[in-house]
């Protein structure tokens, strides 16, 4: 990483710590292997392998009849829409919360040197910071599928609860990432702006955001790639998209239709990955 320039001589790291960590991981692995009661011997060339092989064989050939293809197409478009609107909602949620967790805009750091806000003003601002942090933690901790169950319960079945679920969970994730970007911006331009008498809003607009924007876009695109995968499974709890059709296909033993739907996921995910990579190369 960005090494401290003042370090005179590198202190040799104790090698034993590395070995101890490795040993701890081996113990953890053995404990976990026994705990999950899986049998890798049975997997490689045993009963489990035959079961998996038998099931996979039933998936072929994929069902390419017109109604199935249409269902897969509609599902893929719906999944795309859920991921797109959900990611956008996430940015809308994350942006203000990230600003509210930026302590250098609120009460400390170069912008407040010599005249930090005191008393009640400071208490309010620390409160804003802590509150926004807490909201982000809650949004992020609750997995998108639990949000989806909750929103299905609230607004009923369909893609809309899926959008809300992605927006809330990803809003929490992006809020944290955006906040880290904001705290890491180079303070010198901000100081320069401040010395010209610029207001804090102007410092934000002309000092902070131009530095942070490329990172924001990169993170948002990255989360979109995560969300297209998440949107594909929202349907498992009734929140629209390909997942709902996959749920039906599995429950009704329509294996060949299932393969078509999985292929549709592959196509739409690969498409979004490529689109996101292209936009990143153009914008960031």
């Amino acid at each position: 990483m960005t090494g401290g320039g003042a370090r005179v001589a590198a202190v040799p790291r104790p090698r034993t710590a590395g070995w101890l960590t490795a040993a701890a991981f081996v113990v953890l692995l053995v404990w976990s292997y026994r705990g999950t009661q899986i049998d890798l011997g049975a997997l490689v060339g045993g009963e489990a392998m035959r079961q998996i092989g038998g099931y996979l064989a039933k998936l072929f050939p994929p069902d390419l009849s017109a109604p199935t293809l249409r269902a897969a197409g509609v599902g893929a478009v719906e999944t795309f829409a859920i991921s797109f609107v959900g990611s956008l909602l996430a940015v809308l949620i994350a942006f203000p919360l990230a600003l509210a967790t930026d302590r250098s805009l609120l009460y400390r750091g170069v912008l407040y040197e010599g005249r930090p806000p005191a008393g009640a003003r400071r208490a309010v601002r620390v409160g804003v910071y802590a509150g926004a942090k807490a909201v982000l933690n809650v949004l992020r901790t609750i997995p998108e599928i639990v949000w989806a169950l909750l929103f299905v319960f609230m607004v009923g079945l369909g893609p809309f609860p899926g959008v809300l679920a992605l927006g809330f969970h990803t809003g929490g994730v992006l809020g944290k990432l955006f906040g880290e970007v904001l705290e890491d911006v180079d303070p010198r331009p901000l100081e320069a702006l401040q010395s010209t008498g610029a207001s804090r809003l102007r410092i934000l607009l002309y000092g902070v955001l131009p530095q942070a924007m490329p990172q924001f876009v990169a993170y948002a695109l990255y989360r979109w790639e995560v969300n297209i995968r998440a949107a594909a499974i929202m349907g498992l709890v009734g929140a629209g998209g390909l997942g709902q059709r996959i749920h039906f296909a599995i429950s009704l033993f329509l294996e060949r239709e299932l393969l078509t739907l999985i292929l549709a996921i592959y196509v739409i995910v690969t498409l979004v990955d490529a689109l996101s990579a292209y936009l990143r190369s153009k914008l960031v």
Partner: protein, 280 residues
């Protein structure tokens, strides 16, 4: 904006095209996804939320319930560990095969290219890339769903799902790390007459290993989140309990389970972050 000596901006259609495409996609997506913000302030929806929140508080902390939940919580950690281990076993060899610098071009092949060795390397490379792309494009939940059908309920399908999906991601990232190591030490070793194995062992591995370990640990953090959720399709762990409690409208249990999940995820994050900080 625009200093005196900045070059004259050339007009480009790209931003306008991008904005138009964005607006069109957004409008179409909002329609397809049935977005209806009115539902959020609908009295019935709000009533549902109120019922949910009232049901959640206080979280259920009865000792017998907590005791019952220890096992799924431990199982969640164990699934993530074994799943990540399988992901390494799948991802590592595929990642090596999917590295162009190992398979068919670059400093390791300087004399071999002339002997058309890439005829051997290139197909292996292409196949490994294709397999990795399929493994990682299909979400772990779908894998879990398929494996539950194939081998039955329990932690086993969860382990397999994480192993396969994360194997695809690890393999891709491993190959990227291998392709982006600094070539100069490799060239030096090569020039000093080192064998191919020597170049790999003393030039490539020391450069790539810390990043490998660090990224794998990051994936482990993701795996614990995933393993908590895979239970929704019957693959063991806390997710299965969350789903059950949700279906039974026992929201106080849901809150307890979410808090347990939070603690687990935070603990793994801390462990992994500390090890990564030492590595890099």
């Amino acid at each position: 904006m625009g200093g005196f000596d900045s070059p004259p901006m050339r007009w480009s259609a790209f931003p306008y095209l991008l904005a138009a495409a964005f607006a069109l996609t957004l409008a179409a997506s909002v329609r397809v996804a049935n977005v209806d913000p009115r539902l959020l302030v609908d009295p019935e929806s709000l009533g549902n939320v109120a019922r949910f929140v009232r049901g959640m508080w206080p979280p259920k902390l009865a000792p017998d319930f907590l005791q019952l939940m220890v096992r799924p919580a431990i199982e969640t950690v164990q699934i993530s560990v074994v799943g990540t281990a399988i992901a390494i076993v799948i991802g590592f060899p595929l990642g090596l095969l999917a590295s162009s610098s190992l398979m068919w071009r670059g400093v390791l092949h300087e004399q071999r290219v002339q002997r058309r060795r890439w005829l051997v390397g290139l197909p292996g490379y292409a196949v490994a890339r294709a397999v990795l792309s399929v493994l990682r494009a299909i979400p772990e939940y779908v894998w879990a769903f398929v494996f539950v059908r194939a081998v039955g309920l329990g932690p086993f399908p969860g382990v397999l799902a994480i192993g396969v999906a994360y194997g695809g991601m690890l393999g891709k990232v491993y190959s990227e790390i291998l392709e982006h190591v600094d070539p100069r030490p490799l060239e030096t070793l090569h020039a000093s007459g080192a064998t191919r194995t020597g170049v790999i062992l003393y030039g490539l591995v020391p450069q790539a290993l810390p990043t490998f370990v660090s990224y794998t640990l990051y994936r482990w953090e993701c795996a614990i989140r995933a393993s908590a959720i895979l239970g929704f399709v019957g693959a063991g762990g806390l997710g299965q309990q969350i789903e059950l409690s949700m279906r039974m409208f026992q929201f106080d249990e849901v809150l307890t389970l979410l808090m347990m999940l939070f603690v687990l995820v935070a603990a793994v994050d801390v462990v992994s972050a500390r090890i990564r900080a030492r590595l890099l």
